[in-house]
């Protein structure tokens, strides 16, 4: 890929006590692509997301969004720039109904600005977003309390929270995990549609087979370091990647 990267991570590192969660990682995210990040448990993927989105401060290194440094900026300000993320551990606003969950992002300065200060009927906007992402309006799913929703819907709700922001980048932290093949199959078109609309996506995923259908490029992390980078088929052929993944899903990939 050529051209200016939308998001650049430069030599970023973070340790927690003695644990080096992320070590000297570099990566670029280009406009319009879907980038996959894979790696064994505890390899620092979520920490990397936290570093990019400002939830964790790096020990060293920096993150550039559209060429501007965003390290040290508070998370909500980064989100307002259009850099959004889902959480691996989902905790929806469980006392609110599903569509009311989206009223929060719909009140963000970013959305207000894009609507010229006038928010209009937020409830209708929220329900539309949810319907688009697979909440059946006829079955009144958007009106159910978030605490009563099954996992599949919660994952969608996480994604919907990002979509409501009108984002430029969405970082998905394992939105497929725990879902059935059928459920994933219904999520994939949503992501593809976002890609078509020009949203840049970074996907952290353990479900390699499903991931590789979506992504153009993949980065492998191991013990906090970037182990490999490239197109999925080639990356999975590498000896050290196979070793890091030994005993996991690598056999299913058919690399």
């Amino acid at each position: 890929m050529d051209g200016e990267a939308l998001l650049q991570v430069k030599n970023i590192s973070k340790s927690f006590g003695g644990v080096k969660a992320v070590m000297d990682v570099n990566l670029s995210l280009f406009k319009g692509e879907i980038l996959g990040i894979i790696g064994p448990n505890g390899s620092g993927k979520t920490t990397l997301v936290n570093l990019i989105t400002g939830f964790v401060r790096p020990d060293s290194g920096e993150v550039l969004f559209k060429g501007k440094k965003i390290t040290g900026i508070q998370p909500h300000k980064i989100a307002n720039l259009g850099l959004t993320r889902t959480f691996q551990i989902m905790r929806p606003y469980h006392s609110l109904s599903a569509f009311k969950n989206l009223i929060v992002p719909l009140n963000s300065p970013r959305v207000r600005r894009s609507r010229g200060g006038r928010l209009g009927d937020r409830d209708a906007v929220a329900i539309d977003i949810l319907e688009e992402i697979g909440f059946q309006r006829d079955a009144y799913v958007p009106y159910k309390t978030a605490s009563s929703l099954p996992l599949g819907y919660l994952k969608r709700l996480e994604l919907a929270r990002c979509i409501a922001m009108g984002p430029e980048i969405i970082i998905c932290d394992e939105i497929f995990s725990g879902l059935s093949m059928a459920e994933i199959a219904t999520m994939v078109p949503v992501l593809e549609k976002l890609e078509m609309e020009g949203v840049t996506i970074m996907m952290i995923e353990h479900r390699l087979r499903e991931l590789f259908r979506l992504v153009n490029r993949v980065i492998v992390m191991n013990f906090g370091e970037k182990l490999a980078e490239g197109i999925p088929e080639e990356v999975m052929k590498k000896q050290d990647v196979r070793k890091a993944y030994l005993g996991t899903e690598v056999d299913n990939v058919g690399g």
């Binding site: 909500h76 905790r91 929806p92 006392s95 009223i103």
Partner: protein, 336 residues
């Protein structure tokens, strides 16, 4: 041998609605279903002064102060996730400002009270601002310490009347104004907060309580919203304080008394956390009870605690949540 087992089933009443804001009303019965509880509450509060004697009318005023504090506590705890033991801070700030304006500048109570409400809320919010990052118990502890801090400063510097306080402040015109001022304020606050928690700002605050990280990821500054919430609660508390200083025509360090921080919690536990009206009800039960138990001296506290423990153990949902459930659902026994 035939064993007959029964099981309790609950069914929502007909017009229990899908969303909190959408009502589909068709008949007068359904209208009544929604309106009657509110009307009973408002009329009940407004008629109360008419049936009480002088002594209990004063108790009603005090209960009103605790009710408004309990409402503020419930709002912060159940809808923002902030356990704020700053009741005494609010009462002290409001009370001192209002009292001092009256004592030094001679302004009438009905002018001092609104000014003190606003100024006290600004000061209280400002003081609590650095602690807003703290969560759970830490915020509770810090908010609890400010009143103690204030007392020691006043005593050490011997300002604002020192330990003695300042007496002979102007009092409110008569017992009727006293009662209806606080009752009116409670009703207005109650309905305002009920409304607020379902508006966008309220939804965001509830979001902060459920998952503040997700709120930040949605581009919203949680500090800004928590500040707004604390300010709203401070307004209620400081009004109570300002009102109190003109109820007794006196200001002093006991305006910072721990009771103002603690009793609202008791009222919330008894009335039902998160129901907003429950804590108000709780305060109107607990305060007179405390008054009635005066004869028992220190034993009063013991009885008080027993009642609280009783509620926590046997009816943790509190009075109001229990009543609301009964009102909104049919209950019947089903043979299994």
């Amino acid at each position: 041998m035939v064993i007959e087992e029964t099981r309790r089933k609950r069914l929502d009443r007909g017009i229990k609605v899908r969303t909190e804001t959408l009502y589909a009303l068709s008949t007068w019965r359904e209208m009544a279903y929604l309106i009657v509880p509110r009307t009973v509450l408002i009329l009940g509060l407004l008629l109360l002064p008419l049936i009480l004697d002088m002594y209990w009318q004063r108790v009603l005023c005090t209960a009103g102060i605790y009710a408004i504090l309990a409402l503020a506590f419930d709002f912060l705890a159940a809808y923002v996730g902030l356990v704020c033991l700053g009741g005494a801070l609010f009462i002290g700030a409001g009370g001192y400002i209002s009292g001092l304006l009256n004592a030094y500048l001679g302004w009438p109570p009905l002018l001092c009270i609104p000014i003190a409400t606003l100024a006290g809320a600004v000061i209280s919010t400002f003081v609590l601002l650095p602690c807003l990052r703290l969560r759970g118990i830490y915020f509770a502890i810090v908010s609890f310490m400010f009143p103690l801090f204030a007392v020691h400063i006043i005593v050490a510097l011997n300002v604002f009347g020192g330990t003695e306080g300042i007496s002979a402040l102007a009092i409110l015109p008569n017992i009727w104004v006293e009662q209806y001022l606080i009752l009116g304020m409670i009703i207005v606050s109650l309905f305002a907060i009920r409304r607020l928690v379902n508006e966008d700002i309220g939804l965001i605050l509830r979001g902060i309580k459920d998952n503040d990280q997700a709120v930040r990821a949605s581009g919203i500054s949680i500090t800004a919203y928590k500040t707004k919430a604390v300010f709203i609660a401070s307004l209620m508390g400081c009004f109570g304080g300002a009102y109190l200083s003109h109820l007794y025509g006196w200001l002093g360090i006991s305006l910072f008394a721990m009771d103002f921080s603690i009793l609202p919690i008791a009222a919330c536990v008894m009335g039902g956390m998160g129901s907003l009206v429950g804590p108000v009800l709780g305060a109107f039960i607990l305060t007179p009870m405390s008054e009635a138990l005066r004869g028992f001296g220190q034993l009063r506290v013991v009885l008080y605690c027993l009642i609280l423990i009783g509620f926590i153990v046997y009816k943790p949902e509190g009075l109001m949540n229990y009543l609301q459930r009964k009102y909104h659902q049919f209950e019947y026994w089903e043979r299994v």
